[in-house]
């Protein structure tokens, strides 16, 4: 392809979007529909993963400090725990605070009014970054001087890890299948659009057009159809997601569902939708016309 053809071929690519309007419309509609389905499922899975992660964070490890340690000594244990790998957050709770919390948890029952805080231990409540590594982290915590006893719910952590892993595998699998099916549907639609033009391609070949010369306008057309489809799908996804989240928040008085705001997903969504739109647009067109090129 010579450079003095560039403008002409660009113009031809854009013009063919309108001269084959119905097929362009069909390609864009299918792209939008498929991207919305894949996008919605991906966001749903992402939110579910976040919710499971949040629940997992509530599974705390409690390190009880040696009962002979003073408040200052217990705080130094807290500092050492904070430096351990996989410790996301460590909160120091003195024996006085522990007693207050205990009584509060039991509806300020008068039966506990006489309990002496000295009967309890200072403690550090630890939230882990990754609960699947709870066992190895607890082993490190046990080695910290001054830690007398540890209370950790290994089974709960394992349960959350299993749910998280299963969710990860299932969502990856379903998204991959949806993506492949979408790509096939879109590429088939683009192929149908291109089939409409096989005679035109044969004529181009017969007058001596190179494959590059024939392909370029189709690529331009595919680029624009892909980007239009991706843009529309992105806008629709945003509106749908916001509407859904607003409706769920209205009925979810207990705040059980904590959805990630769409603006937080803006960059990955823009990148993914654009990449998917461009991929199916450009490569769909190229693969569709390939078999007509062999004339």
């Amino acid at each position: 392809m010579k450079m003095n053809n560039f403008g002409y071929l660009m113009k031809e690519g854009v013009r063919s979007i309108f001269s084959h309007g119905l097929m362009s419309f069909a390609s864009v509609c299918v792209t939008v529909a498929c991207l919305i389905i894949v996008g919605s499922f991906s966001i749903l899975m992402y939110n579910l993963n976040i919710m499971v992660e949040d629940l997992n964070q509530t599974n705390e490890v409690i390190c009880y400090v040696d009962s002979v340690y003073t408040d200052a000594e217990a705080k130094s244990v807290h500092s050492r725990i904070n430096m351990i790998d996989n410790v996301f957050q460590a909160n120091y709770v003195s024996r006085e605070e522990a007693l207050k919390n205990f009584v509060a948890d039991h509806d300020n029952d008068a039966a506990f009014q006489g309990v002496d805080p000295q009967d309890l231990r200072h403690r550090i409540v630890v939230v882990l970054e990754d609960n699947s590594r709870m066992e190895e982290t607890v082993a490190l915590l046990e080695e910290v001087e001054g830690v007398a006893m540890i209370d950790a719910e290994f089974e709960l952590a394992e349960g959350f890890t299993t749910i998280s892993n299963v969710l990860g595998v299932v969502s990856t699998g379903i998204i991959a299948i949806l993506l492949i099916v979408s790509l096939l549907i879109i590429s088939n639609t683009v192929k149908l659009a291109m089939y409409d033009r096989k005679n035109e391609i044969a004529i181009m070949k017969m007058v001596g057009a190179t494959n590059g010369f024939i392909r370029f306008p189709f690529m331009v057309q595919g680029f624009f159809l892909g980007i239009i489809g991706a843009g529309l799908a992105f806008g629709a996804e945003w509106l749908l997601y916001d509407a859904l989240v607003t409706n769920i928040h209205e009925v979810d008085a207990l705040g059980l569902f904590n959805f990630v705001p769409f603006v937080d997903l803006l960059v990955p969504m823009v990148v993914t939708f654009s990449a998917a739109g461009l991929f199916v647009g450009i490569f769909g067109s190229i693969s569709a016309i390939r078999k007509f090129m062999d004339v």
């Binding site: 053809n5 007058v207 001596g208 057009a209």
Partner: protein
């Protein structure tokens, strides 16, 4: 120059379309290729245009050895040919002007060259003033002249016309042949595939007759000999 040396073409289904065909068409010649349906005429055309490869034998077209030619060189070989089909094969969504200009754009011609050359060939084929029309708004004869204009625009050394008068009435057919003869007089080699005896007889040209994949006669009295074989 077009040269076939002992060319055989067999299809995968087992039938042989060409069986040891040898022929040579010199630069500047006007040749009719005649024969009944299924005789192998179209196979010869398709081999010349690079759509088919011979099973065996050698084919040279305007300096290209088709046996050794790389796939990516086929477009460049085709640019030495101007091909005219019975069904015109025009792009209906393009205007008459763009159908002709397209063949020049394909080879990377500049707009200034296109603006100069297209009106010239449009005038040559008698289509001046119809540049803004679309092919499907024209008569069969006009469409075929447009196809000839497209074939001519890059000044190819050879024009190949496959049953160019198949969709035209006798008067338009004669006009078209006269046009091809005029083009030949300017030095372009012309190969016309046809089975219209009357038309061939009105032009005193070399006739190559082919039947069942074999050249059965070749000469100025080719059609007569073909009919009497």
């Amino acid at each position: 120059m077009i040269q076939f040396t002992d060319v055989t073409k067999s299809y995968t289904e087992g039938n042989t379309a060409l069986n040891g065909v040898s022929l040579q068409i010199e630069d500047g010649e006007f040749v009719f290729l005649v024969g009944p349906s299924g005789s192998g005429k179209s196979t010869i055309m398709k081999i010349i245009t690079g759509e088919l490869k011979p099973t065996s034998g050698q084919v040279h077209v305007n300096g290209y050895n088709l046996e050794r030619m790389r796939k990516r060189d086929i477009p460049f070989m085709r640019r030495t040919l101007g091909v005219v089909f019975q069904d015109f094969r025009l792009i209906n969504k393009m205007t008459v002007y763009d159908n002709v200009a397209y063949a020049m754009r394909v080879i990377g011609a500049r707009e200034a060259e296109i603006k100069e050359r297209v009106p010239y060939v449009m005038d040559l084929v008698g289509l001046t003033g119809k540049e803004r029309r679309h092919p499907n708004e024209m008569s069969g004869g006009e469409q075929q002249r447009l196809a000839i204009a497209r074939a001519l625009v890059n000044n190819p050394s050879t024009i190949i016309a496959d049953e160019p008068t198949g969709n035209l009435d006798p008067a338009r057919s004669f006009e078209l042949m006269t046009l091809l003869q005029e083009i030949n007089n300017l030095g372009t080699t012309v190969l016309v595939v046809t089975h219209e005896k009357e038309l061939v007889e009105r032009f005193d040209k070399r006739v190559i007759a082919i039947d069942e994949g074999v050249v059965i006669s070749d000469g100025m009295d080719g059609y007569y000999r073909y009919e009497n074989e």
